[in-house]
């Protein structure tokens, strides 16, 4: 293939018509408290892993809802399961259970 000197970017917009919600639904069914999130970011503020990575549970929840699974996979890898986010959450989301269920859904090993 000839080199045209440019490449084509992959499509950036999130297409809600084609959103893959299976992982979100799996987690939601087993831990309905994830529906309570108001995306305030208290979890990300206190997150130990967030100091050295992009980790933020608020982001994870939102990405799950939008079906951005590849990014979810990258983020939850960094979680240390310390549970500080559970302490600060104003909506009492069971954050640790949420992380464990995502691992389960994505068949990720717990490191």
């Amino acid at each position: 293939m000839p080199d045209f000197g440019f490449s084509i970017q992959s499509s950036q917009p999130i297409d809600l018509d084609k959103t893959y919600r299976a992982v979100y639904n799996f987690v939601k069914e087993k831990e309905p408290s994830i529906q309570r999130c108001i995306y305030c970011g208290a979890c990300g503020a206190t997150c130990t892993a967030a100091n050295f990575s992009q980790m933020s549970l608020r982001k994870v929840n939102l990405l799950l809802l939008r079906g951005q699974i590849a990014e979810v996979r990258q983020l939850v890898e960094h979680c240390l399961l310390c549970g500080k986010c559970m302490l600060v959450c104003p909506r009492n989301v069971n954050t640790r259970k949420m992380i464990l269920l995502i691992h389960q859904a994505l068949k990720m090993p717990l490191s």
């Binding site: 108001i38 305030c40 208290a42 503020a45 933020s56």
Partner: protein
């Protein structure tokens, strides 16, 4: 002549008393403290027009006619209902019989100590919005407890509101715009200070609120950051170290400030549950009293002759509270003239 008891001498109770005494009813205004005016008497100025709070309370006091029987330092301890009349037994041993009762006991401020991770009453430079409002009664700029001029001040929204951890899921409604108002006033007093507002949502729902927000951005350079404080710690120089997430950027955020202002929300006044039991009026999940419904019967309860006005039935602005009190007065009038 019909007799009406109004329990609670804040702005709602006074407004209802003014209206009902103008209709020539015999009105008894019962207040457990020794001074009328409730919370509003402690405040500096009112959003959105920055008018004087003291003036509002004084005007109301002047309008209270001599015909209103004002009972200070008195609480209701018992009540009974017979022949469409309520007999109230008071803490001073007296009792009296009434045809209708308006409950106007209002709210209490969320005790910020319960949000321990925010450091109120642990770190000296953490104050509440109510304390700041009272401080504004002086003309002075904002000083830290070490008497340095505060150069960086952070306001934290939703302290004790929208928080299941402290049992208050509801929004206290007035703190958003109060924070904007107080931030602007702080900017006037401490020129050049960096002022941050940390919010979850900015609920600028009423007329001219959005204008205040606009002014805060454009004239005062207030910095609005969407994120919720997770914890506060104190540095050796007694400045405060705060941890947030900048939720719009998706990055953790750290900030050191001289002072922290907690926008404390509303909870039902101390005796609300007791009043609910006394008069058999239901409470909502938010523990405020429930009216008959939330649309056309906002001042009525499921009990005949028991009416609600002001924050006893949930957080309200001052404008809403006064309107609510006038509406309750009319409901009482209709009830007493029902035959």
């Amino acid at each position: 002549m019909s007799k009406i008891a109004i329990i609670g001498g804040g702005i709602a109770g006074m407004e209802a008393a003014i209206r009902l005494s103008a209709l020539n009813f015999e009105v008894h205004l019962i207040e457990k403290s020794f001074i009328l005016g409730g919370h509003v008497k402690n405040w500096h100025m009112l959003f959105p027009d920055l008018s004087s709070a003291t003036q509002l309370v004084e005007q109301q006091k002047n309008q209270l006619r001599d015909s209103v029987n004002i009972l200070l330092g008195i609480e209701v301890i018992r009540a009974s209902y017979t022949n469409n009349k309520y007999t109230l037994y008071f803490s001073d041993g007296s009792s009296n019989t009434f045809d209708a009762i308006i409950l106007t006991t209002g709210f209490k401020l969320f005790p910020a100590q319960r949000k321990e991770e925010y450091g109120y009453s642990i770190y000296s430079n953490v104050i509440t919005s109510a304390e700041l409002e009272e401080y504004f009664q002086t003309d002075k700029p904002l000083y830290t407890k070490e008497h340095r001029i505060a150069e960086r001040i952070a306001f934290i929204h939703c302290v004790g509101s929208r928080d299941d951890k402290v049992g208050n899921r509801y929004c206290s409604k007035v703190c958003c715009v109060t924070a904007v108002k107080q931030a602007m006033e702080t900017a006037r007093r401490n020129p050049g200070a960096e002022i941050y507002l940390f919010y979850m949502d900015l609920r600028m729902f009423d007329r001219q609120f959005e204008d205040l927000y606009f002014q805060a951005q454009t004239q005062y350079g207030i910095r609005f950051i969407r994120g919720r404080l997770s914890e506060v710690s104190e540095k050796p120089d007694s400045r405060l170290f705060l941890k947030f997430e900048d939720t719009l950027l998706g990055k953790p955020l750290r900030l050191t400030t001289d002072m922290l202002v907690l926008m404390v929300g509303m909870e039902p006044a101390e005796n609300t549950g007791q009043l609910a039991r006394l008069f058999n009026v239901p409470v909502g999940n938010d523990k405020f009293l429930l009216p008959k419904n939330l649309h056309q019967y906002r001042n009525l309860t499921n009990q005949p002759g028991i009416f609600l006005a002001g924050c006893v039935s949930g957080p309200k602005t001052i404008g809403e509270t006064l309107t609510d009190a006038r509406s309750a007065a009319l409901e009482v009038y209709n009830y007493l003239n029902r035959n």
